[in-house]
Symmetry: D2
Subunit: 359 residues, 4 copies
């Protein structure tokens, strides 16, 4: 119960710190007979890794994954798949300052309070670099979902600061549209303005927040459990388990607060023999169980806490001081957040898919 394991039947356990030897994930419960190799993991790892474009952190990490088990003759065997990603560009000298000072917005202080000590070389266990192995595990889940159930997953940046994209139909967004620009917003003109804002913010030695949207298509009706393990609840937990996420909503989200029931309810209709809803304000989940409609959700991501400008804080001894981050940080987390969130979405769906199989 120490919190490094996700899922019940499709189950991922991770280990690793940002400046230690590397990261490991063990993915247990993957059904036998899925074609799999390291090449299936690399594309999403490349989308997540630093140094991929000018608007993200310039730390250089190949994030090259090695599969250590669970695959034989190119196919999964049904036994746990261990994935190893070694750290390369650690430069822990960049971080020696933070040994004695608590960085605002980071987990330095809370880790010290929790454990009585912490790996002060960077974020240690709380670093977003931990999501690298989640992304690798998520790539397996994505492939399983696509091949066995025809489920498709796509995420994208909906908002950066005050700049919002209009995405009338999330289920129509393609990976190609998302990957067309480094900011991962499928609307090209909005993307350009977002990139401009990010570069401006970086020039001002600051950072900026935003919102990502995710959509899963092809999810059959019936996934999710009635009470505590509602699909919406596990999706919310999954997204909030990612660093920097302060809000989660699905379907109409916070917009429901001002709505009347008569306007909010999605009418049920029958088309081509299939029951569906005319609109999708319920975001593809009713009673916490998938309805067969696209699952749509959004995450609010805070601006990067590490800043190359002085910030007020205290030393570990409680003395007032300032800290200025000298590391290589993202001026906006959103572009690299997209593959992380997609991975968590895939992990949740794969787990619930198998849970439904056991019914």
């Amino acid at each position: 119960m120490a919190g490094s394991t996700w899922g019940h039947l499709f189950r991922v356990t991770t280990a690793g710190e940002s400046h230690g030897p590397g990261y490991v994930a063990i993915v247990d419960g993957v059904p036998a007979g899925l074609a799999l190799s390291e090449a299936d993991l690399q594309p999403d790892l490349d989308r997540r890794r630093p140094g991929q474009s000018k608007i993200v952190s310039q730390r250089q990490e190949a994030d090259s994954a090695e599969i250590l088990s669970g695959v034989f003759e190119g196919m999964t065997t049904g036994t746990p798949i261990a994935i190893l990603i070694r750290n390369q560009d650690q430069r822990s000298t960049d971080y020696s300052d933070i040994k004695e000072k608590y960085r605002p917005g980071h987990a330095d202080f809370t880790f010290d309070q929790k454990f009585g000590r912490r790996d002060w070389r960077g974020g240690g266990r709380s670093s977003a670099r931990e999501t690298s192995v989640r992304v690798a595990a998520g790539a397996i889940a994505k492939k399983l979902l696509a091949e066995r159930w025809g489920v498709g997953i796509v995420g994208y940046v909906l908002q950066v600061g005050d700049i919002s994209a209009g995405v009338p139909d999330p289920s129509a967004v393609t990976l190609e549209q998302v990957e067309a620009t480094p900011v991962r917003c499928p609307d090209p003109s909005t993307a350009a303005r977002m990139i401009e804002l990010i570069e401006q913010v970086r020039g001002e030695r600051d950072s900026i927040g935003g919102v990502a949207e995710l959509c899963a298509t092809g999810v059959p009706a019936g996934w999710g459990e009635p009470v505590f393990d509602k699909l919406k609840a596990d999706l919310g937990k999954a997204m909030l388990s990612l660093p920097a996420v302060l809000g989660f909503e699905y379907g109409a989200g916070f917009g429901v607060a001002t709505m009347r029931g008569s306007a909010n309810n999605d009418a049920l209709v029958c088309e081509d023999g299939e029951v569906r809803t005319r609109t999708n304000r319920h975001g593809g989940m009713l009673g916490g169980i998938s309805s067969g409609m696209p699952i749509v959700m959004r995450c609010a991501v805070k601006p990067t806490s590490s800043l190359p400008q002085p910030q007020e804080t205290v030393t570990t001894q409680g003395e007032a001081t300032t800290i200025e981050t000298k590391g290589r940080h993202d001026p906006c987390l959103l572009p690299r957040f997209v593959p992380m969130a997609e991975a968590m979405l895939a992990l949740v769906l794969a787990d619930h898919a198998l849970r439904q199989e056991a019914r």
Copy 2:
């Protein structure tokens, strides 16, 4: 993994349907030596039950809890506490219409897809009545948290439709302020306008959504686990496991999307030998671990789906029809949502408190 259990060390399992004999919760992991009787459970059950005021459902349920185990000579023994609440005012005739039709916004269709059958007398397992035993379990968690760690929990209605209360300091809100009006908004003048709106909406045979805010004070720094079981993640899951919740945020929430890092970071300061933050945009959690500051979160709750006006839907055979709810439903879920959400908040904190004890 069938989804009826919450928590790892402070662990609640529930059973029951809205129109069956009753509900049961088994609360396992409560430490020995806590003074406890049914009288400790009843106040929150009374806050949750229907029929408590004019602005909620008029179904009559005493929601009287019987403790069947785990308490001896007025003290918990450390063994599981079973709680039984029998249903009384079931009137299942009210619901016979929904046997053949899917109610919009409800789980009727998704349950049929998931299980191939459903208890069509009301919401069955998906009924919000299931939260009665969660509230009873939460009352135990609240008492444990208060006595052992000095943690206080309070929830209230922040918004109904377009009417929002200004609550400058969530940690200063008291239970008495909340309970002063049936709408559970601590600001009396806003409360009056909310009640007026709810009565108007009911008169129009409609329903309205809203937002609830919750605050936990006295939580020591160090609760929550670094990766998947972040405190924010478990809180998000807990809130989203409640019926009708479509959004969750904590601290600055979705507001972070438009913020700069330099404005969003909470400066660390030292006061009276204690490290704290000058502001609380982080909502009391950093890296998913409690910081010692008040934990503040908000939930978006949709308008009641059951409406006493015709709504477009289909029969279980897929034929177009309309349905008009004749049962006794809440025109606004928020007032009764408050004790449900407080209970879930308490369950999460009690579980993480014990997890931290094991460290």
Copy 3:
């Protein structure tokens, strides 16, 4: 993790003490569509209950089960099934002596050490009476296993003291043979001698131990997980979770210690297109996974610890004293142990059956 829950997908949580209001089990994960009523639970409850014959405890308990949820129109709905059994013949005055003295062989001392307090009216949570709701849950598992996979389960008494039955083929033993005598030994002449011994032992104000054997037929090859959750491991845990069990073995069991590999290995053969083994020293499990052969296991059960003769012990203050049990206890636990062990066997198999479905 407080230890009152069994299983992952077919999951049972129990609560209750021997002299409290009663016992509850919540059985979560039962697939929808199984015909079920209280009448399905009662036969095994009757086999377990005290007072059923002259050679067991004379405490009078009807052990009448009420199903509170999860069944609608005579069929399981897929939601958790809560079962309530109220205590009746509590006579806690019988037990007041043990408030101040630790009974040898019981959990009185260890509960005090663990919890700092205990329910001293009888065994409290450690009473074998807790198995009543396990037996009720097991009856559901048995029915599911029989209907969906054709699995049959039978247990019987193999040995009482020095008297052993010869049972050449465990898979041929029938429930009728077992129930033909109150001692539940399928060999009538051995049964008669066992009963005689038990009555003699009771006359001498003493108790006697024994061995029970269990067999599951019809289990398909492939149930059980490779590493920690081997089927043999979960079966061993299940049996050892029952009171008074000090030993567990399957197949050739402790007999393997003196065997050569060439003699112990079961040759694989093909009969009627099915791979099977010529002999079954492996007890139906290879690598912890079912082989398709009958699963055969044995449990060693100690003589009842409560004795109507003075035994040396200490008071809760550590002073030397003696204690003589005045309650109504079984001179031999084995006859009533059989349905308890069958129930646990069924719970393990039902859980692993569903786990295999999710593969």
Copy 4:
């Protein structure tokens, strides 16, 4: 729930196959502040590895462990510890014969039935080589138990074939006595006879079974949970999760079958202000909770199934054939079983120790 994870609070997840790149364990829940390095893991790995003496398998594996996370500046940080052991002497050509034939006594057939495929290079996931990372994880548990609670763990070979050692006081056996001979029997003269028997059996191209005994001293009263997670139950599961174990008993074990209660009960006495029992037929556990007396248990281990002589079996197509193992196997598993069993004992105790901390 795919079975590769052990424990709740001290939690181990393993991955790896005998002829893949290597093995990984993630050990989550280790408290912060324990001094730890690879040097702490190696001694037990050396006791487990093949090639350590003439009487075990001659496969050459250094079993050198690399710690990838969770340790900083020589101390555990409280975050998960990943351990990597790469395979070296794989020689999978030795095993190509078993691709087409099922080895008697092995999991080849059951894996094919479960997964529809298997890694046929050796035992794959079912190989006892998987215990290497369990032993590494167990070494961490042993160190934690010793430093924090003063718990000592020792295992040894009690019986090989018909040769049994007399060990009057298990709690007095030392690691030095055990390691004095390659057979790990603490009685030197019996050890010599065991070695002679093992060499004779190997000369006859056969194998032989045996019994190992384990003892844990210093365990305080109060570890273990009342119902399903009794300490005896988790210990039984732990031992039965090891390959080749067909029986488990603790304390008087199967000997209780022929005992009277008056002779079996251990009298409670008070010595130096401590309540203890005069004898230890209860093996240190009452009601499944530790009593403060030494925990004593035994495991029956079957003779190695792989034999360098022809054995009757079938091909994967069901045709009758014979198979003769050409690999390098142990003529008796017991000497290398001892560190595996000690590791599992340590994992169980560490987990229950932390669970008790959370009470």
